[in-house]
């Protein structure tokens, strides 16, 4: 019996490289975010030094125009970004996967109606929907932004889930499961979700990045929470007037945003490639 279980060495290497890079990038942010719960270098709302100081051993990223320590704010930004990304994707995933599966199983009429509704929702930019919701709630609250982003993402997730589930539903192994006596809920849990999960999870990573960037944009537009719960977008906004004298205030949040978004995507790709049996051994 032949066992073609060897993976091409170069391919394997790049997989684990993506996984390691992703783990490193995301790990840094998780470490910073968790650390803020027990320890901060300085009080994020108080003057910790002179105004617009450059980087030093005391202030790794210098201080802002009010003399607040920038590194402290960046650490808190990691925590906020993780909460936003995880929260929005969790909401988007639960609503989106449920709706998508419903549509895939629905009668043609209901399915068409759902698909059309989703297309219309997706046509609105995520940021615009989130802005409307946040502007409508009177306090600039992190949770209203997360819920708004989650709902906006759910339309995208639902459309993808619907297509993926329909593709799986026509497979003979679904019919085989039925003639094996498996109930539909069981078929969803055992056959459909595991087979759409690899594609979904990579999409969730993408949505995570989008959500974090969208929240940063909201904050940049003044719709985010002030320190001590400021996000990277808020830091960016506050640094905008002094970008020539103290560029780190603008550069640091930018790098943080991009590194987290890329890290999550690398991590998702890497995890999929190591966990998915059909990829692991191809």
């Amino acid at each position: 019996m032949s066992t073609a279980t060897m993976t091409a060495p170069t391919e394997k290497k790049s997989h684990s490289l993506a996984l390691k890079a992703g783990l490193l990038l995301v790990g840094i942010h998780i470490f910073m975010g968790l650390l803020t719960l027990v320890w901060l270098p300085y009080d994020p709302t108080a003057m910790a030094g002179g105004r617009l100081e450059g980087p030093s051993l005391l202030h790794l990223l210098g201080t802002d125009r009010l003399g607040r320590d920038l590194f402290t704010q960046m650490m808190i930004g990691s925590r906020i970004a993780l909460i936003v990304g995880i929260g929005a994707v969790a909401i988007g995933a639960v609503i989106g996967v449920t709706l998508g599966l419903l549509a895939a199983f629905a009668s043609k009429w209901l399915d068409d109606a759902l698909a059309a509704t989703l297309d219309i929702l997706i046509a609105f930019p995520t940021l615009l929907i989130a802005m409307l919701v946040v502007a409508a709630s009177d306090t600039a609250n992190l949770w209203s932004a997360i819920i708004a982003l989650g709902i906006a993402l759910s339309a995208i997730v639902a459309r993808l889930t619907r297509i993926l589930a329909k593709r799986v539903l026509v497979m003979d192994y679904i019919t085989a499961a039925r003639t094996s006596g498996s109930s539909w809920p069981k078929i969803v849990a055992i056959h459909i979700l595991p087979n759409i999960w690899p594609t979904l999870s990579v999409n969730f990573a993408l949505q995570f990045g989008l959500a974090v960037i969208a929240e940063a944009s909201l904050s940049y537009l003044g719709l985010g929470a002030p320190p001590p719960n400021a996000s990277w977008g808020r830091i960016l906004q506050e640094a905008q007037g002094t970008v020539y004298t103290a560029p780190l205030g603008a550069i640091a949040p930018g790098i943080a945003l991009v590194s987290l978004a890329i890290g999550v995507n690398l991590l998702a790709d890497g995890l999929r490639d190591t966990i998915d049996p059909t990829r692991r051994a191809r």
């Binding site: 279980t5 192994y173 019919t175 085989a176 499961a177 006596g181 055992i190 056959h191 087979n195 051994a281």
Partner: protein, 253 residues
């Protein structure tokens, strides 16, 4: 005594197009029947009705004397155990993300069949000519012919009395095809077999009786040898004329 009885069954996926038209058919206990017809003649559709995956618009199907009613849960559980199916495409009939053990054990789990499932799966694997210990592997680690054996193992593991095979050897190369036909021939000694094919050569080698389906109607049925020696219906004559000589020789040798 007849195990399956199809009585004047008609069916269409949509109201304005009939796929099966007044089909009557009997499968006796232990019989092997070849269902032959061109692509689109309704063979798979008839199997779907026989499996209770769709219901006839008119006419009745009975299994072991009881009406085949998909809404009757207690009956269906017993029926699923007794009627199993092997599909044409060995690549789409096995869930790529499940182990072989889990794939073959699915009917045992879902139909709540008692006993040591691991052992039953091992026995089924052996019965189809595979090693007992391949259970931890995944479908993509097997060839098309091996996958079809795995699909057959899943079908026989609950101990069915009726095995339906929908073009189960069509996707395989000639040598593998002959091996799988041999395997099915062995299995048909212990269960009834309805073997769907557009390959008359294979049917001739495997089936005692033959049923010819044309555009949803049964145009000819009878003893395979008799029908092939002296086809009555023009459609059967045309089907026979189009059989490549090679296939007939290969299989009968």
């Amino acid at each position: 005594m007849s195990l399956v009885r199809v009585d004047h069954v008609s069916f269409g996926y949509t109201a304005n197009r009939r796929i099966l038209d007044d089909v009557s058919l009997e499968i006796a206990q232990g019989d092997t029947i070849g269902l032959v017809g061109e692509s689109g003649s309704g063979k798979t559709t008839l199997l779907r009705l026989l499996l209770g995956l769709a219901r006839p618009d008119s006419g009745t199907i009975t299994f072991d004397g009881r009406p085949l009613d998909p809404r009757n849960g207690a009956f269906m559980r017993d029926f699923r155990r007794q009627a199993q199916v092997v599909y044409q495409d060995p690549y789409s009939s096995l869930d790529p993300r499940q182990t072989i053990q889990s794939i073959i054990a699915e009917p045992l789990r879902s139909l709540k069949i008692p006993g040591d499932h691991q052992k039953q799966v091992g026995d089924a694997l052996e019965a189809v000519g595979l090693d007992r210990d391949v259970g931890t592997r995944f479908p993509h680690q097997f060839s098309g012919g091996q996958r079809q054996r795995i699909a057959i193992a899943r079908a026989i593991v609950p101990g069915p009395r009726l095995l339906l095979a929908d073009e189960a050897v069509s996707a395989l190369d000639l040598t593998t095809r002959i091996r799988i036909v041999d395997l099915l021939a062995g299995l048909s000694k212990t269960m009834s077999l309805l073997f769907v094919s557009h390959d008359i050569g294979v049917v001739a080698a495997l089936c005692r009786r033959i049923v010819i389906l044309e555009k949803g109607r049964i145009v000819e049925a009878g003893d395979t040898a008799a029908v092939l020696a002296n086809p009555q219906h023009p459609y059967t004559q045309r089907l026979l004329a189009s059989v490549p000589r090679l296939t007939l020789n290969e299989v009968s040798s």
